[in-house]
Every structure is written in C-alpha cells, then in structure tokens.
C-alpha cells in the first residue's frame, strides 16, 4: 500500500559538541496524519523538531521534507510552519499586529491574509487588538498556532502546543489540528501531555536519549506493551473480584495508590486476558459500568521508559 510521506527521516544524527542529541533516528510522517513525539527531557525531541523546521541541518542521515531532501539549514520549503521552544511573539504588538507583520513578511496583504479567520479558529477574536504582552501562556500558544496557520502549511511542527492551555483553549487547538489533518496537513507535535497526544495522534514516536524506542500506531503500544492496570467498575464488585481471581492472566491490584472506591476493582492484565474477564463478567450477569486503563498505554510506555532510564543511571 502506498502512503504519501510529509517527513521521511533515515538514520538522522545530530551532535552538539560531544553531546549526541539524535542518534540514528528514523521517522515517517504520513500526509494528513497527526504524529506525536514523546520522550523524557533531553531525549532529543526539540532537536528533531528544529531539524524539521530547518533551523539546523543533521550531521548524518537523510531527511526529506515534503518530498525534498534537506541538505542545509533554513532550506525547508514554504509549506513548513510551526514553532519550537515556545511561539515567537512580539509583546509590544497586538495579536492582530503580530499576525499582520508576519503576513506582510511573507508578502501577503495583511487585510486579505485571513488573520481574522485564524484568530477565530484558535479562539482569540476577542483579544485580537490586545497587546501580546498581557497574554497568558495558553493565549500565547494559541497565537503561535494562529501564526503558523496563517502560512497555510502542509507540514505543521509544534513543540508543546498545549502548555498552559485551559480546557476551552485545548478544545480550540484540538479542533484546529484535527481539521488541518483532515484537510491533508501533516502535524508533528511534541508534548508531555499524554492525554492530548492520545486524543490527537494516530501514530507516535517515543524518543529516549536520542534514539527511537517506539514508532507506530497508538493501539500497537497497548498490544506490544507489558501488562497495564485497568479500573473496572461493575454492578457487583464481589462477583467481579471472584471472577478476576479465576481468570488466567488477571491479577487484582490491592495497593492502587489511589482513592479507595468500593465499586471499583483495579486489575493488572494484558489485553487478551482483559477481554476474557469482560466476557466472564457479562456471562455471569455482572454489568460493566466502566473499564479504563489507570494510566494510558502511552503514559505507561513513557513511564516505563523513564524508569528504565533512571535505573540505568
């Protein structure tokens, strides 16, 4: 099956002096896909995003962006937009002036560049004429996203776009990114917010100390991963516990580290064993009212990764 790639990276390495920031990184981002980038601090996420934006060039390997090899800094095409290390905004300008200045820089007429539209998309219409100086972190993030949208990108690269966003702001951002992806724009987004990535991304790449430790669809993480803890809320907790004890591959977790709830059972299992438990419950007439991982597969993988890294020290 053919899939169009917005980003194709093979064996990318990047060093800063003696520090190896990226070590043989492979990355494929399909057109119209939202691709998450996860990893502990210092894993090389921002360096990789910087390469995608053309801020630097890799020391080794091959990087193609929107079908063109990138061989020198600042040589990525006009179809790439985004920000790393926070959006670049000028506090003495209003939100509208920031966008207008950027539009004019790109050679567009500020009146017809779609400034009002992108401000509306990120939910900043009401503060369009306020100086960016007074903006909260979340508002700055949204304005940074609006600035990126203004260029109508085919590849959008965002570093921690959800930082400081309230639920309403997060909804705006999610809606915008989902719509962009549906229209064919590829989005690479790094975040420490696992809930965001799970809500947005179809695929993720997990980096650790400059290397890719996982890359693929989110659901593959659950199947590839180790056992997870699940919360099971049923109509009959006693029966549920008995059935869990009787099911192979299921262990009841006594010390959950969470607030005790008599109706909730926490079990540790892999997905097939969990499926079997649910079947047993249903056959026994026990209603399943809630079934959810205590921590998401992505977060579990991330935590495992972090713990492994700490153990390795």
């Amino acid at each position: 099956m053919d899939a169009l790639l917005a980003v194709r990276a093979r064996g990318i390495t990047k060093c800063f002096g003696e520090v190896v920031a990226l070590d043989g990184v492979d990355l494929d981002v399909t057109q119209g896909q939202i691709h998450g980038l996860v990893g502990p601090n210092g894993a090389g996420k921002t360096t990789l995003l910087g390469l995608l934006l053309g801020l630097a060039v890799a020391d080794g390997g091959r990087l193609e962006i929107l079908g063109t090899p990138v061989e020198r800094a600042l040589a990525v095409s006009d179809g790439v937009a985004g920000f790393v290390d926070g959006p670049g905004l000028y506090p003495s300008l209003t939100a509208r002036q920031n966008l207008a200045a950027l539009a004019r820089l790109r050679g567009h007429d500020a009146r017809s560049a779609g400034i009002d539209e992108v401000l509306d998309q990120v939910g900043l219409t009401d503060v369009a004429d306020d100086k960016a100086r007074g903006f909260s972190l979340g508002m700055r993030q949204r304005l940074g996203l609006a600035a990126a949208l203004l260029t109508k990108p085919r590849l959008l690269v965002l570093d921690e776009p959800s930082n400081g966003l309230d639920p309403s702001g997060k909804r705006h951002v999610h809606r915008v990114l989902t719509r962009l992806a549906a229209d064919g724009t590829s989005v690479v987004v790094s975040s420490h917010r696992m809930d965001d990535l799970e809500a947005l991304c179809s695929e993720v790449t997990i980096l650790a100390t400059g290397r890719v430790v996982f890359s693929g669809p989110l659901n593959k993480l659950a199947s590839e991963n180790r056992e997870l803890d699940y919360r099971v809320r049923t109509s009959d907790p006693r029966a549920a516990r008995r059935l869990a004890d009787d099911t192979d591959g299921i262990r009841v977790v006594e010390d959950t580290g969470m607030r005790q709830d008599a109706e909730v059972l926490v079990v540790r299992a892999m997905v097939p064993a969990l499926d079997e438990l649910v079947a047993h419950l249903v056959r026994s007439g026990v209603a399943v009212r809630e079934l959810a991982p205590v921590v998401s597969p992505l977060e579990a993988a991330f935590l495992a990764l972090t713990e492994r890294q700490e153990d390795g020290r």
Binding site: A3, A6, T46, L53, L55, L66, L74, G79, L105, G107
Partner: protein
C-alpha cells in the same frame, strides 16, 4: 512501500525580500514604547531646552557656544550638539542598536524569525538598516527641534565663530547642519559597536551598555594628555572636531580625519557583528552570548584597528606631541581677539577698524615661562597687543587661558577693565555683554590649516 510526497516535486524555498524584512524590523522597533518615547523626546525636548535656556539670564557658558545663546538662534543647536556628543547620542545608539539583536534573545523569538525569514544575512541587514533608520530619525529630531527652538526664541542672527569672526545667518545655518552631519559619523561608529555588543553578548545587559561605555572611554581618553595621533585615531574625535567648522579658515584636517576614522570603525564593527551573527548556532537553547568568540572576533580586531589607525595617522601627520604649541596658542588668541574687538567696536559705535589695521599679536607663556611652553593646562597667560589707526600707543590686554587637551580653550579677560576686565560694556543703548571679557577658542592640533 512508502513514497515521499510528489506534489510540487520541487519544494519552494522562498527567502523573504530584504524590503519586507526591513519593514518588519522597523514595525517591531517603532512598536516599543521606549523608542516612541525617545522619538518624541528628541523632537520636542531640544526645542524646549534651547528656548528655555535662551531666555534665562544665566547661560551655559561652560558649553561651547553656550555664551552666545542670547545672541543668535544658531548657538542653541550647537550647544545641543555638544551635549548630544557627550550623552544623548551614545545613549540613543545604545537603546536602539545595542538592543536590536539582544531583544530577540530576551523574547526567545530567534527561531520564529529564522523560520519566517530563512536567511540570517537578510535578518542582519534588515535589523541594521532598521536601527540606522530609527537613529537617523532621532538625530533629525535633535537637529530640527533645536534649530526651531533657537530660531523661534532668539531669531536668525549672525553667529560668532570660535575664532571670533561673524558668520552670517545663512553661513551659520550651513555650518550648523554640516556639524551635525559630521557628528553622524561617530554616531554610526557607536551604533555599529552597539550592534556588535548586541550580537556578541546576547541578552546580557553589557551589550546594551557597550556604546555608552565606549563613548565614556573615548571622552576620558580625550581628557588625557595623549599624543594627537592617538586622539585623532579614536572614533569619537569627530564629536569634537566639528568645532573646526566654526573658524576661518575651517580646520578641516582634524575634522576629515575624525570622520574617516569614525566611518572605518562603523564599517569594521558592523562587519564583525555580521561575522559573529552568521556563526551563531540558533539551535542551541542555552546560548547566552558568543563567549570567547566575542573576544577573538570582536574585541581583538577593534584593538588592532585602533593600533593601525594610530600608526597611519602618526605616519601621515607629524602629530605625536600634544599639538598645543606656544605659537599656535598665540595665533589663536590674537585672531579671536581681533575679530571680537571689531564686534566690541561695533557695540560701542566706534569707528570701524579692520583686523589688518589692528595688527593684533599675543604673547603667551605657560607656567610663567617655566618649563615646556606647550600642552594643555589652565596656567597659560597671554598679553594681547593691538594698534588703532592714528593712535601712537599700542593697547594691551591680559588673558588667563584654560586650554584643554583637545585644543579648546577659554580665555578669561584680566584687564584693563574698559577692554576685557568686566563682563558688561556700556553702549549707547545700555549695558551689553562684553565679547572680550571671556571667549571660547580652539587651537588646531594638527599643522594643516593655513596660518591666518
């Protein structure tokens, strides 16, 4: 199997044209409240200052041309130029050029700017041109405002030059504007040093302080008893050498050397800033100044430039002494006295007399003739002698001179009272300031101007 996107098989990489980058930088600069405030201050404050001081009974006579602020509107802009060269221009260049790169470090906007513009070269040129534009706007404000303030409050009268000769209002206007134009050269040098500091030192406040510190250093150097070649080789000398425009003939040698040195500094410091900027790694989040590279690509080349300039000036002009010699002091005092004597004659409605007929001479000694008869100091004493037509006895007057290292001097009349011993003269229309009581003059440090 996967394939890279084939659509638009050759991706478009468009660099932003310089004109748009320039406009973007200008918008950012002008949007800053402190820049707006400076523009406003430069266009309003000089007029108020000149108008206010010109109406006071006490004039800033310790400032060059300050003592003539009652007499002509053209003295105000020159007082302002003296002040600007010492304080205003170093500070203005510091706030504008000294911060234009560092501001992006502070705001964390470099990556945004690079992704948008795609060319560090164009960013550098756009920022430099935008800074230059704002600095020119500020300087234009200082000139226009002080000229308007002076003309509105005192009027378009002739100006007394540094050798006492009268410049017609038109001539005064031309020379005032030319003096400000010459002062642009050291201003550009300071602006370039500001750019260099801003690039080299990142968000460190030292970058912002660099132009005033360099200007202060140059002013201190000008107060020291340095050889003339060293004095002329410093980029700030043109802030002083414009004085030579107000003598007759104009002392163009030091002025042209000062302007040329300033422009060389402006070009070299800008080029160094450019090289440092292009070598910067914008992916390094922890960047906080160019560190050792600032030394090798910033400070050392400028130190080398100073050494080369001193050597070139020393070879091109025989100027390793103080430049303040007895014969030059005598000539300057005699010339100024003769011109001012004619002015006093006119005030008193006496018969006109020419400088040639006055045959003025001055005999000056330093430290009562003890030691070397040259160099700066407030221990110069001059006895001026002049002749009047049909009067057998020559007139004499005594002056105490305070000669500064840069050649400027203040001559303080020591009598006789009727000539130069009192600050007022009694004219038929009432008391008037006595032009011979105290006057400013200057000794040309180089031996380039024809002796007149």
């Amino acid at each position: 199997m996967t394939t890279a996107i084939a659509e638009d098989s050759v991706a478009v990489v468009r660099r932003v044209p310089l004109s748009r980058g320039y406009r973007f930088e200008l918008v950012k600069l002008v949007a800053q409240w402190r820049i707006r405030l400076l523009v406003l201050a430069c266009w309003i404050a000089p007029a108020l200052f000149v108008a206010g001081v010109s109406r006071q009974s006490t004039l800033p006579s310790d400032t060059l041309f300050g003592r003539w602020m009652h007499a002509t509107g053209w003295a105000g802009p020159l007082v302002m130029l003296g002040f600007a060269g010492t304080w205003a221009l170093p500070l203005l260049t510091s706030v504008v050029a000294g911060d234009v790169f560092a501001a992006e470090d502070r705001l964390g906007t470099w990556r945004h700017l690079l992704v948008a513009v795609r060319s560090p070269r164009r960013i550098f040129v756009a920022k430099s041109l935008a800074s230059l534009t704002v600095i020119l706007l500020l300087v234009a404000g200082l000139v226009c405002s002080s000229v308007l303030g002076g003309l509105a409050s005192v009027g378009n009268q002739p100006l007394v030059g540094l050798d006492g000769h009268l410049l017609t209002p038109g001539d005064a206007a031309g020379r005032v504007l030319l003096a400000w134009l010459c002062a642009l050269a050291p201003t550009l040098a300071l602006a370039a040093i500001g750019l260099l500091g801003s690039v080299a030192l990142g968000r460190s406040p030292m970058g912002l302080l660099l132009p005033p510190l360099v200007a202060l250093g140059m002013q201190v150097a000008q107060m020291l008893p340095l050889p003339v070649a060293v004095r002329l080789a410093l980029p700030g000398y043109a802030f002083i050498s414009w004085n030579g425009l107000f003598t007759s003939p104009a002392q163009l040698g030091p002025l042209l050397i000062g302007v040329a040195v300033s422009l060389v500094w402006a070009v070299v410091a800008t080029a160094l800033a450019y090289l440092l900027f292009l070598r910067r790694d914008f992916t390094n989040l922890a960047y906080d100044g160019a560190g050792r590279r600032a030394l090798t690509l910033g400070l050392l080349p400028l130190a080398a430039l100073t050494a080369v300039t001193v050597a070139v000036v020393a070879v091109a002009t025989p100027s390793m002494g103080s430049g303040i010699k007895q014969d030059k002091v005598q000539r300057s005092v005699a010339t100024a006295f003769a011109h001012l004597y004619r002015l006093q004659t006119r005030q008193l409605h006496r018969p006109a007399v020419t400088e040639a007929k006055l045959r003025t001479t001055a005999a000056c000694t330093k430290s009562d003739g003890q030691g070397a008869q040259e160099g700066a100091g407030n221990d110069w004493r001059c006895v001026v002698t002049w002749h009047l037509p049909d009067v057998a006895v020559a007139g004499t007057a005594v002056y105490q001179l305070d000669v500064a290292s840069d050649g400027r001097f203040v001559a303080d009349g020591d009598g006789p009272k009727e000539v130069n011993g009192y600050f007022l003269v009694r004219t038929p229309t009432g008391d008037a300031p006595n032009p011979l009581w105290q006057f400013d003059g200057n000794v040309e440090l180089l031996d380039t101007t024809s002796k007149g």
